[in-house]
Assembly symmetry: D2
Homo-oligomer: 342 residues x 4
């Protein structure tokens, strides 16, 4: 069986796991007050070219989004997000649980349109009744989006300018950031660090056992953040594990190597389908690929390959998602090709 379901089906990249194993018996303080964390934070600041950024390590994406947004938003403020955003759909209301509305705007293959965000903010404050409404206190985007798509440098710059004009932070959910950076035509990690106010570098879907690294350009945006993390249950007692993993991922460019690997294999996978005439229904440059396949083909593939079913398209076709990851191998793509050849 070859697996293309998602990018968190296996454990950790060997270099990441090795860091945990190697340092298993070293004694350190808890809660992230250790040299592994200090070292990993410094490496991340360097990779971001953001020497003054605050870096915080959390365990998972949903808790990271909820904790950071609870920190960024004043009570009664909400966060603007695409209606397909993970925080609006698949996080079980974690943002609302601690009091904040997700203000959803139309999704364009997972992306917010910078002009629509600008228009929303203009209309909001032009409305006489705005003090009766949830004020937009932050903008959330994901990079890549839930559909694998990417903002261009121009789009991200415009979003960033709009946010700064209204003095609200731009927050980027980077659950799959490495795949996005590997595939982006024009955006680098330092660009993100400059254009976003807060973002997180995803570990879980990029080859860590778990872990997300929040990068915050301006400490004043997230005051007393450790206590907020603690209240949200997002402090890991053995915080060192996060330091070890991010230390490994930011050594010898491992984070980007994993990103490039996943993107390269996703391209090959896409070619394999396209060569046989199958079409995508979203044009994703990253490690998630979205195809329209005949139901007969799906039935044929299923005993040999796993992937996600995304719903019917007419009577005879369906939409499916294939995902590559750090541990997808060239042999997996070759095996898939062979299945398509038959």
């Amino acid at each position: 069986m070859i697996h293309f379901d998602c990018d968190y089906m296996a454990g950790a990249h060997p270099e990441v796991l090795e860091a945990i194993v190697r340092n298993n018996t070293t004694q350190t303080s808890g809660y992230g007050e250790d040299d592994f964390c200090r070292d990993a934070k410094e490496k991340i600041r360097q990779a971001c070219e953001a020497p003054n950024a605050a870096v915080h390590f959390l365990v998972g994406g949903t808790q990271t989004n909820a904790t950071v947004l609870d920190g960024l938003l004043r009570t009664t403020e909400g966060v603007i997000a695409a209606e397909t955003a993970h925080i609006n759909v698949h996080e079980a209301g974690a943002i609302e649980l601690t009091g904040h509305k997700v203000i959803s705007l139309p999704s364009h293959d997972g992306k917010l349109c910078p002009d629509e965000v600008d228009q929303y903010l203009r209309d909001f404050y032009a409305d006489d009744t705005w003090t009766h409404m949830v004020a937009p206190g932050a903008v959330y985007i994901s990079f890549p989006t839930e559909f694998g798509t990417l903002y261009s440098k121009d789009e991200l710059t415009r979003l960033s300018e709009t946010c700064r004009a209204y003095d609200i932070p731009l927050y980027i959910d980077g659950a799959r950031l490495g795949f996005g950076l590997a595939a982006s035509a024009d955006l680098t990690l330092p660009d993100l660090a400059r254009l976003a106010d807060v973002f997180y570098i995803g570990g879980t879907k990029m080859g860590a056992l778990f872990g997300e690294a929040v990068v915050c350009n301006n400490e004043k945006l997230l005051p007393h953040f450790f206590t907020l993390m603690k209240a949200h249950g997002s402090v890991l007692a053995k915080g060192r594990l996060l330091g070890m993993q991010f230390g490994a991922m930011f050594t010898d460019d491992l984070y980007l190597r994993i990103g490039r690997h996943g993107v390269q294999l996703a391209k090959e996978l896409r070619s394999a389908f396209e060569e046989k005439g199958y079409k995508t229904f979203i044009d994703s440059p990253t490690n998630q690929q979205f195809f329209i396949l005949p139901n007969t083909l799906i039935d044929k593939l299923l005993p040999e390959a796993s992937f996600e079913y995304w719903g019917p398209r007419g009577q005879e076709e369906s939409k499916v998602r294939f995902v590559t990851s750090w541990e997808t191998k060239s042999e997996d793509i070759a095996a898939l090709k062979a299945l398509l050849m038959d």
Copy 2:
């Protein structure tokens, strides 16, 4: 340097870590829907002699307490706890963050007095104004407590009976449960599973990298718990890691072996101090030991041994805490003894 600061300063017990390493490249579904989790849950049910219990895996203690109690309590209900309870002091208001009051009663070396709980409940409903007040919707205890002390079987039985008389669940925070079971004169894991309505088997402080296993006797008490966990940010994407670790800890009695090891070394550590005439200020039978030491001795020990300072006692003595764990070695105790001998 020998370390007695706390029980989460190192990584995982070798048998636990080995389970993670061995299965690193196995592919499984995410979010705990995998065979490692299914197997570990079954092992826990067997160890608890609770064949119908629901078992849920979470990452850390604070998030476990907040998620479970949010599930057990109706809006406007609070949880009774000792004023020294972890949820009342050191969890940064995680219980209040999602709307619930901690109703604190006096602490007796960390324990609630069963009679005082009963009296509180009787007085509460005898008060004409009780509908203006936060109703007690659950009772929280820790076993062992934050001061290493243990409830006897009789005490726990009385607490349990009171809770059942008022139809409110008894919840046990078992962050260090293994040390408690190893030290208890008369309580076993099946006893806990029978007397508590919900409790958790702590992993983080018992030799796992992280992880806590919630055992719930009655599924109706925690309906839709997966979604609640998700909303609290306490679902681990690679949930398999929790299954692997608890699977290992409930194989060949590892969990109790670690408990016995920590308790045995704690006894030796205590003897070492007592033989030299030093006294404890709390009489703990578990892996946390609390001594009154001369400040001169503390100054002498500090370059060689780490432990926690708990505040002054008069001008010339101080209170300190020493903790043993899975990775404390007999040599560590011997080294400490040698220091005391000098």
Copy 3:
């Protein structure tokens, strides 16, 4: 100046105010435990033909919606509402403040489409990932809607059936209920009481100084509701004031008399505009009327009449809202007509 801005610009209907003045020095218990409240509740149960309904009095609409929905929804559940619903737009995130998502569906002149609600629920539970999502735990509609429109008996019956099929309560915000009942072709108060699980009879916009009466068919839906009200700050110390007002409004059919008065004058107002060839942009049968007027006419009316500006429509016309209430007089309509004649 004649006023058509809204229906809460003046004090109370004379019969309502008189009840407060007449009983001013009578001594009663606080918090609604008085004979005025008991009497008013009984009158409401009779008017609803719901002898077993629980009736609760609150002060205002936003607090009523937030308190009731917090009572109906389990943590992590959300409420389905039209995207234009008051709770989704103009209540400053009160629903989210205590943890619940507003799940917005398309608005059809303020109404939910019963088929779309049914489809949403069907799709929700057909989605494999639904446990990662906010479960729909109630349906919210307003009657009349924020745009003055009404559900027909058939539409309301279908919504009610869908809700019961999924075992989630149907909740009706009746801020302007009296105007809706007066204008409805086929729905009566007993119909609402039968088809809804919980609804509120609005007082503030119907001629009370303030006050809303929640009617709940099934007490189990809102257990410990007084305490929940207290926690939401929605218990009035001198609860008697609510009893006096609702007692007056449900004496001699005052509530419906006010409804009919407002609707009758709204019809006359609409005719006045239509006779001069002006069009509505929403077809409302109740006390809110929505016109498209030339900007020149608006400028001419403004010195003599107040109404709400709802935004431009092209270059030369605008959308406006005129509202009638208990204290709109025939003379006001006549004066408006005269202004249109000039």
Copy 4:
């Protein structure tokens, strides 16, 4: 029957009610945007000698405390209060409902001890683990307290200085403020306005139908407060009613006149008991009086006079509370005296 149960058993003081009746048909904007409110706010600023203070009108005490404290506290911050404080006991967890812990300190007849508050704050920040704990973000006191007692000018000054030293606001719950000002030996309204950061002038218990006026010395402490009020359901649609009532209460010194009246009659009431040899169990100078009475006397009084039973004191005596208000008459005291004479 003569009534001494509490101070909210009747309607409004005639001068207050008259203001509502007189202006009933005047048309104004809603939500407090009217001249009645503007005028009343100006009168309050003058009475407080606080020309720059922001004044906000809310409906009831619990909602005022919850809304103001939610505004003053950052997420994860709590409020220090006496363990007997209304917010800690009788507000059904309204503070916790929106995420904040009540940090209770010992009650001294309802009062916080300034030295103990100072010590708590000093100890808090001296504790290495304070970032794991709920930070004290405000201090709450009531004036008069729930037991009728008063802070002296010296005590209030010391509390104020401590709060300013730690840069946390001092908030005063003035539900019965007028009785406190009338009875205080040395504190005036301008003193309170100077020493507190935020306080509220209670209306409900001082002769209004309802209503509380929040006075905030520094607008930055409560940014976007209208929206916060809306989210808490504490905006009254016909806000004018609050303006009319507070306008009347701050005309011709009515507020203080009512205070003096209640305090004077409370003194007479107390004398009546003391002359017969009965003792108080709390020494209250305000309108609540607390006596120890023989059960035989209580049984004799009950058919003729109502008051609150506060629990037994030994076998033959009980604790009771008698309360005077704006509408207690000299005849009521005389009638009570007559009962005691028999």
